[in-house]
């Protein structure tokens, strides 16, 4: 097969922050938030 002309850093998909974190198996609060104790209780 001819070498593909372009190298796609995103692997051809448009991933948002939350998709990236989900695919990594992270279950962060609201997808990308690390809570401290007080905020944890609040949430």
């Amino acid at each position: 097969l001819p070498t593909p002309e372009n190298f796609d850093v995103d692997g051809g998909i448009d991933q948002d922050i939350f998709d990236i974190n989900e695919d990594l198996g992270l279950d962060l609060f609201e997808g990308d938030i690390k809570l401290n104790g007080a905020q944890e209780r609040n949430s």
Binding site: N6, D10, I17, L24, D32, I33, K34
Partner: protein, 640 residues
């Protein structure tokens, strides 16, 4: 988030940890420039302050919300090296939740709960207005902090439906701060100015932004809505708005050859010592007419200012608005001077300028101006190549836009064979290419330009064992310029999802059928943590060496004072750690106990002393009186 304890100072100390990818480091520094242009938030390398942000490459992209004590981590992991993602995570650190978690979100979006992945429903919490403050700013579908409609979906249907359907594909933008993002941030941090913005002028107001006509010239610039020979409208509004849309015009048809018209900006006060002037220019006169850009710099020795010619813009194409950039390097208060100059050719029109922006930022190195863009979008072959450019280090490159995909526009960076290749280092090391699709809003502060960066990794190899970034004449394919000249083009490196067609057609990305891609290719090898030339401004490396010998306990932070490593111990409202390594814990309760017990001890001691002394005194007194009696008795015995 409500709570003063979560606020950062306006200048935030940061560390770019070694774990970060090179491209991510460059992207983070570019994101800082966006904060410096549009807000009063600034960033500086950490120099031992107790609270700072440590940007790391951990798994994923994440941050905490609001300021924490001590070292606060923020992760820019693999695939997070996009400027808007960095802006998003730093907005969290500055105290912002996601937009759709506002207490009033149900007025604006509907959450479709049965379309959410099971167990992920908690990501759609609402924050009560006791915890989260919307700062009296209306709900913002365009926020860089808003989920997209597909967030945590369990299928293909959207989990968020906007109550105004026009915004369904707007939510989840990852391009730049929205106007409301900036309104909230600047309000939350009481911003009165920004570090790098200087001026923006669209000539809509009669005061023409305080610009002045020079007296030493032969004609004046006129503020007009259109010119018979062109342009027929201004650039800011492109004639869309009745009774508005003005620009400045120098009529070269009415003056003699060599005549000039000079327009000077108001006096501006620089802080950083480097500036980028950006404006649109239209020529309806003669190709021999030209525009000269000067600076007039004032100092104590030169109260009238020193006029310095910075650039001569010649052979200005006739009949269309053109974007121009001029790099300035001014350190004292100054004016920017626009001098229109009538050339020898016949003219029936003149020169027009509009949408001037001046900021203390670096100009892009190159601009790819794509004309008649709407026709190109619909063209079947759908691939555009830019003209060839040279980077500041001498590498030749070309940009490719792929328009054929129905949803997304792709963008790729190609090294191509160039005149300097024999003198250059191969594989190409650590050159970061930043490609920005310009949102042509007249005001630079309101632009939401779409930017992506890539960095050439000299160690990257391809399936056939070649170095990806090796010399194009070795690893590239034969290609031809439009004029038939043959050259070599390496594989493209970029993304197929640069921007959606829908977003591309929004805002002012396409204006007057023109699109601009701003290009910068710069050497970022100095950001490589293991390289000898680590950035001189961040002394963290010396701190690290000295601190290696000292282990601080209980979350103490090692800092260097007078070239000596010391532990800065954490403390709270009523507790603290002390000791050389923060090994001892103290608290106000302990202190009170100590004070009370020592008071009691002293009191008891005093009491004992008092009692003993009373006892002794009494005993002594009794002894004396008894001895006196005895003496007296003895004495008197013989006296009778």
């Amino acid at each position: 988030i409500i709570g003063e304890e979560y606020r950062w100072p306006h200048t935030i100390p940061y560390v770019l940890e070694d774990s970060l990818e090179m491209n991510a480091k460059g992207v983070i520094l570019n994101a800082f420039e966006r904060y410096r242009l549009k807000t009063c938030i600034d960033f500086k390398p950490w120099t031992g302050e107790p609270n700072y942000i440590s940007v790391i490459k951990d798994s994923g992209c994440w941050s905490s919300v609001g300021k924490r004590t001590g070292r606060q981590e923020l992760s820019i992991g693999a695939n997070c090296d996009r400027i808007a993602t960095v802006q998003h995570e730093f907005l969290h650190a500055l105290g912002f939740w996601h937009e759709q978690s506002r207490s009033d979100r149900d007025d604006y979006v509907a959450i479709i709960w049965d379309r959410i992945q099971s167990g992920r429903e908690h990501n759609f919490n609402i924050y009560s207005d006791e915890v989260s403050d919307n700062l009296n700013v209306p709900y913002d579908y365009t926020s860089v902090m808003h989920y997209s409609k597909t967030a945590f979906q369990n299928g293909t249907e959207p989990t968020i439906v906007t109550r105004i359907s026009d915004f369904e594909d707007v939510i989840g933008q990852r391009m730049d701060f929205s106007d409301s993002d900036l309104l909230k941030l600047n309000q939350l941090y009481n911003c009165s100015s920004s570090l790098s913005f200087l001026d923006s002028c669209n000539f809509e107001l009669e005061n023409v932004c305080g610009m002045i006509q020079s007296s030493g010239d032969s004609a004046d610039w006129q503020r007009v809505p259109q010119v018979p020979r062109g342009p027929d409208s201004d650039h800011s509004n492109m004639g869309q708005c009745q009774d508005s849309g003005f620009f400045m015009y120098f009529d070269t048809s009415a003056v003699n050859v060599g005549a000039t018209a000079v327009l000077e900006s108001r006096i501006l006060y620089p802080k950083r010592g480097f500036q980028c002037l950006q404006f649109y220019l239209y020529n309806s006169g003669s190709e021999s007419d030209q525009l000269n850009i000067y600076t007039r710099e004032y100092s104590t020795d030169n109260v009238n200012g020193i006029l310095t010619l910075v650039e001569e813009i010649k052979e200005i194409p006739i009949g269309s608005w053109q974007l121009h950039h001029v790099a300035l390097k001014v350190t004292n208060k100054f004016r920017v001077v626009f001098e229109g100059h009538k050339g020898s050719g016949a003219s029936l029109g003149g020169l027009s300028i509009d949408d001037i922006n001046l900021s203390e930022t670096w100009c892009p190195h190159h601009v790819w101006h794509i004309r008649n863009f709407t026709q190109l979008i619909d063209s079947p072959n759908g691939t555009l190549y830019s003209p060839p450019f040279y980077s500041s280090k001498g590498y030749a490159f070309q940009i490719q836009l792929t328009l054929s995909d129905l949803t997304n526009v792709g963008i790729y960076f190609h090294l191509i064979s160039g005149a300097n290749d024999d003198q250059l280092q191969w594989p190409c090391p650590w050159q970061q290419a930043t490609m920005t699709l310009l949102d042509q809003n007249p005001d630079i502060r309101q632009r939401m330009s779409n930017q992506r960066s890539i960095t050439t990794d000299p160690f990257m190899t391809t399936d056939n064992g070649n170095y990806f970034w090796d010399r194009p004449s070795q690893v590239g394919a034969v290609a031809f310029f439009p004029n038939g000249t043959q050259f070599r083009r390496s594989r493209g490196y970029g993304t197929s999802a640069f921007i959606t067609h829908q977003r591309l057609k929004s805002r002012d990305f396409i204006k007057g059928n023109d699109v601009y891609l701003l290009l910068t290719v710069e050497d970022i090898s100095h950001l490589n943590s293991t390289s000898v030339e680590s950035t001189p401004t961040s002394p963290t490396s010396s701190i690290k060496e000295l601190c290696l010998e000292l282990t601080c306990e209980n979350d103490g932070i090692c800092a260097v004072r007078d070239d000596k490593a010391e532990c800065m111990c954490p403390s709270g409202d009523d507790w603290w750690y002390v000791g050389e390594r923060c090994e001892k814990r103290g608290s106000t309760r302990d202190t009170i106990i100590i004070v009370v017990s020592s008071t009691v001890a002293v009191f008891v001691l005093m009491l004992v002393v008092t009692l003993v002394s009373v006892y002794c005194t009494r005993r002594k007194y009794l002894k004396r009186t008894s001895s006196n009696t005895a003496n007296m008795t003895v004495e008197n015995e013989h006296a009778f």
